[in-house]
Symmetry: C2
Amino acid sequence: MTDYSVTDLNARLTHMAELAKAARAITLPLYADDMDVINKADGDDYDPVTNADIEGERTMRTLITAVFPHDSIEGEELPDITGQNDWLWTLDPIDGTRGFVAGIPVWSTLIAVSYKGQPVLGLIDVAAQDKQFWGAPDKAWLLQGGVETELKTRDCGGDIRNAILGCTEPLAMLKPDELSAYNTIRRKARFSRLGLDAYGYGQVAAGRMDVIIESLLKPCDVRALMPVIEGAGGKVTNWEGGSAVDGGRVVAVGDAALLPEIYRDLQQAADV
Amino acid sequence: MTDYSVTDLNARLTHMAELAKAARAITLPLYADDMDVINKADGDDYDPVTNADIEGERTMRTLITAVFPHDSIEGEELPDITGQNDWLWTLDPIDGTRGFVAGIPVWSTLIAVSYKGQPVLGLIDVAAQDKQFWGAPDKAWLLQGGVETELKTRDCGGDIRNAILGCTEPLAMLKPDELSAYNTIRRKARFSRLGLDAYGYGQVAAGRMDVIIESLLKPCDVRALMPVIEGAGGKVTNWEGGSAVDGGRVVAVGDAALLPEIYRDLQQAADV
């Protein structure tokens, strides 16, 4: 799995920053201008945001293909491109579209690079806060206002009572049995904080939160998060303890010693 | 109720900006520095944040007393001061302490001025986003980066299906019967967005969200929000349609035509 060349990896890491910059040029003006533009969309019509999402993905794909024409590309908005090597880009121009629409600065652009199916590079670009959470094999860092700081998850002493728990929308995301399992953990945790999308995973990497429990994630929601949290010392799995790479029901922790108790509680849900 | 002098009102409005500035000087460095300072507090110990909260309130009280020595003052952290006139200041230096601790830029400083028990001036100062939501009789405005824009709530055509709903933490805030009433409304709404504390009310005033339904609010959580939302064209009441001034179970809407259906659905909860 890790037989990639470091030069090939670094070339893609450098290029990710270009992609994020191009995405910001599309997303940030719409977000800043949002009171006028977004409100013109009636009712269920999210057109300006959906358009920015598609345009952002198209722009990033063009940039990838120009430099790495043999890489595969998948994204939230457009059909998959199957390449001719072991590298795969996974893109989500606006993760947290609902937060974007409601004017909450936690939405982000997600960019993951996988090698032979395993995410090895990840970027959570929280443009509205000018915060980039980066992950690479064995390290993760925050880039904010031009300053780079190491990301390191927090030690909870393996005790869920020390943990800050997050979930974007438990009532909409979780079925009744899943919600009941989630509530068991929530009641033991220090407190819970909702509505964060990928930003919550960034805060786990930063040692500001400790556990995220979610469901219904798509591959493009989760792949960028894995190198960030794992590079910072945490762990991302599905609820059964297997790989999170395909999304679905996902748990992320800063302190892996929390996992046995979390898995036990999550077994209250069906099919875990 | 509205027999105050406009000069007296404006003097307090001007002074509110000084209070917010003083509070920012205490809160923002701690928030920016948070990775180091806050993480040094173990487990349940929120000391640095609690200290900033108390210090912020003490500083604001000193500023009030220096200029308006006969006004009453109440706050989240310190005992009430009973004054000798009809003006009352209500202070919450850090609304959304949990968001502050978790590093989410939606916490705010809340400042309300009431006359004869009725909030007439309100400020939601979202320091980490440099956004101030201001409310005064018959008007509300956003001050961001030195630029003032009018706040105006959004018309939903009286249809909850057009509405973006918010609640800070439904699972922790609402009892089972209340949660069930909330869920009835959530399922009809366009979508829900959680974890926002007072910032969600600001977004209702800005026409970016439409309904907030919460419970267990303290007077200092709600009084600053009322002039902002009402000055922007919305309405804040308790779940029974009465005054929200004492907190408790609160509903805020941008479009008052949504209220009859919301009250009907909330009647599923006991004692409504």
